[in-house]
Symmetry: C2
Subunit: 192 residues, 2 copies
Amino acid sequence: MPRIGLNQRSVVREAARLADEVGADRLTLAALAGRLGVALPSLYKHVRGADALAQKLSALATAELADELTAAVAGRADGEALRAVAAAYRAYAHRHPGRYPASQRVPDPTDPEHVAAGERAVGAIRATLRGYGLDGDDALDATRMLRSTLHGFVSLEAAGGFGLPRAVDASFDSLVAALDGAFRSWPRGERP
Amino acid sequence: MPRIGLNQRSVVREAARLADEVGADRLTLAALAGRLGVALPSLYKHVRGADALAQKLSALATAELADELTAAVAGRADGEALRAVAAAYRAYAHRHPGRYPASQRVPDPTDPEHVAAGERAVGAIRATLRGYGLDGDDALDATRMLRSTLHGFVSLEAAGGFGLPRAVDASFDSLVAALDGAFRSWPRGERP
DNA sequence: GGCGTTAGCTAATTCTCTTAGCTTTACGGT
DNA sequence: ACCGTAAAGCTAAGAGAATTAGCTAACGCC
């Protein structure tokens, strides 16, 4: 029985590819093992189980998304940064329909890499808003709004919730423009 | 063997209750059958299978959500309608943590009730925006933005994606206020 | 070259969904 | 009242997924 030379990294990477092909919810250990050329129980030498695999997949996807958002915001500010980050966010969800939902799982507190990736992703979102002059609770609220809107849009889009896919690109552009306006004229400081 | 007197309606209603208790993804036919006091295969007399049950559950949840949104918008306009609809939407997701994700499944085209419920829900959202003087593509885009933002917020909140749950209520109020501003000053008609 | 570590295997258990086929209840028409 | 039928419930059986236990053999280090 020749050794394939698997390790946790290669297993999780293949799981990510498979998830993008068949959907995150249809990712199965049996299919993954078949894809890697090993018997199913062999996977347990590298991941603790199906749930742990999902967690590691989430960490990978979150790190990738954080990288792309960080790259998008770098060297840009204000509306330009917002448009670039929004486009990068949606592009990642399109390109990786299996990884994206995995990335939304709450980071495992016992996995430092996962936690760090989550913080980098939120940091990129927060950095996008820096040019709008928001701070304190306003910055927190605006960050949450931006995350909510982007996540909601790409989730509904992926689920086919927008009926005809006709003008979805244009709707997204409008949404980003409206967000830009909202952040410019943010209803400030009416909180204790 | 005494008959319990089940029908599709009662099965789906119990599934909804169970989903709210254990989570939509942990809803299992075995648990549902146990709850109803019948053997598992007996459920197949009322629903065609696990996926069909999920579809019917989605139809129920969508109808309930549509009802609550419709009631919230009735007799209100502009910012008041927006605040009422947003509060009703979030309240439904809080009250029914299992039904809510089910409600986001795309309606089954072969189930007229489901399709109608979906249209009523979107109709309530669209009606909310009526007072803002948006029409055509602007109304479409604004509707999509409102749906995206509400869905994204309650999804992230339910997943525990907002870190400390401390100021989530205040963040939601800010979000609704920002949406109100965005709809008032919607960047209009820059589309062919 | 020997030896410990570990990657990978087979076998077996549990849980879920599903189908097949049987029995008995409830109901409607005569 | 009674009988025939539709359907509500059952048991039995099987497929697919995750998991655990325990075995074997390849690799890496001295």
